[in-house]
Symmetry: C2
Subunit: 272 residues, 2 copies
């Protein structure tokens, strides 16, 4: 079972910390942070990391595609070209494999979800965000998250979520839509589904340190004025994002990638 | 007594909130936040606001110069040109007045201090910061502050301060240097002076709401995990910045502007 997640957003937004928190590994252990000059010279390159994880008894080959440096360079034109090209390349690869002999052992490296990080300091979507999403929304499932939400008060989170939803509508950006919940599901599942939909875009906090709070071990950030507990639903939407990505909607993300985005790609290829 | 403070930094960094917190007024009451399109079309323009304040019995004409939009546009070339031109224009004006007849009632609109806001999400100084400071450091007293420091843990603040100081040295940027403390000052003053120097660049938090904490009214930010008290020295360097700007170093900022930056300008004018 393959699943590929692409993370897009400026460096320093907590992308790797969130991935580590979500999948409880430490993919980025040997990261070195390049200095200002290196970062600018390095045109946006894609970094790919794969790991085997086991989630609810299912063995999963998880691939994280990171686009370091997006938004750092003075000119962002490269960033969106590189991301969009990566998604297309995976489709092309899959298309070739599908038409080949060995269909039974195909690897699925297509990008099933794009986590798009909006900075907490943004007033709403910025021009670079709109440009980037426009180039990706017809090819990949975009899930927008507000990064480092611990720097926002409850009211500020509400206002930023509302402004982002408004901008997505105004600029007609098609992000991933949660499927309707089956009517035969029990009430508890329906309630969880409603809460998930009401929380979009998720305002997340991530942390790479574990500490003791009231006798329990929590992943959190320690400030002089209090401890932010990443998994506390009153502090952040982290658990909602994790539930959605890993358990309730992973299959649907794969289905939409196959039935919608990949089929669109195939149709374009065949008609050319 | 005139004092002009220029604030430079991307929008959304908390510049106006800090100015209101520092000078306890509400200069920015009627601010409207332009939408993405307006912000980009508006090339960087300077917004100037003047107010009369009384601080420790001294009447002060305080001017705040805000450079909205720095760093928001895709191309930052304009931003640094506009800031540097503004500083020069004030020198030129003063130079003309000084050579005129009415020297006794001259207004001093020269920029005495430039508060330079570094985002808390930055790894250190970015290319835009280096470029901007290079164009300003020979003309104005630059005081660097780390904005929205409540999104950084104690360790992260320490690391960011160290990296910024290192970058200022590597890129040979001349920020405002605190004068040596007179040897005949009492020990308490010397201690305060040492603490001030050790805290640079100041990591500040600002807030536009006042709330009740333990029976006291505090300017702060309320989070589900605790309340950040702007004036609590364990929470931020806000009070250090305020003490420095308004009481202990305001005169020295004016002196350095007059004796160093303005004299350099005059020398250039005369020799041309
Ligand atoms: N305030 C805050 N800081 C965070 C959060 N997540 C990560 N950080 C910090 O932000 C910095 C950059 O994080 P990193 O994951 O390397 O960002 P990336 O460049 O986007 O991968 C590190 O110092 C993290 O500790 C968060 O949710 N809130
Ligand atoms: N986390 C945090 N937010 C702040 C701080 N100061 C201001 N803000 C918030 O940041 C947003 C933008 O602030 P504003 O002062 O308008 O920024 P400006 O565009 O730089 O003038 C507002 O929602 C403020 O409440 C701070 O110190 N910490």
């Amino acid at each position: 079972f393959d699943f590929t997640l692409m993370v897009v957003g400026e460096s320093g937004l907590g992308k790797s910390t969130l991935i580590n928190s979500l999948f409880l590994g430490d993919l980025y252990r040997n990261r070195t942070i390049p200095d200002v000059h290196d970062r600018l010279e390095k045109t946006t390159t894609i970094e790919k990391k794969t790991m085997e994880i086991e989630e609810r008894g299912v063995r999963l080959r998880l691939t994280i595609v990171d686009t370091p440096g997006f938004g750092d360079a003075i000119n962002c034109e490269d960033s969106w070209r590189v991301c969009s090209a990566y998604v297309d390349d995976q489709f092309r690869q899959y298309f070739t494999d599908e038409s080949g002999l060995n269909r039974r052992h195909m690897q699925d490296n297509r990008v099933h979800c794009c986590l798009y990080f909006v900075p907490p300091w943004a007033h709403s979507l910025r021009q670079v965000d709109v440009e980037m999403m426009r180039r990706l929304h017809r090819k990949v499932n975009i899930v927008v998250v507000i990064a480092k939400a611990d720097s926002l008060t409850v009211m500020e989170v509400k206002k930023l979520k509302a402004r982002i939803l408004q901008d997505l509508e105004d600029y007609q950006i098609q992000v991933y839509q949660f499927p309707e919940c089956d009517s035969d599901e029990d009430e508890e599942f329906k309630q969880q589904d409603r809460e998930l939909k009401a929380a979009v875009p998720f305002a997340v906090v991530a942390a790479d340190t574990v500490m003791e709070v009231g006798g329990r071990r929590v992943r959190g950030r320690q400030y002089p004025w209090g401890i932010v507990d990443v998994e506390n639903p009153r502090h952040s939407d982290f658990t909602k994002l994790r539930t959605m990505l890993i358990s309730t909607h992973m299959q649907d993300l794969k289905d939409v990638t196959q039935d919608v985005h990949y089929e669109n790609f195939r149709a374009q290829c065949i008609s050319q």
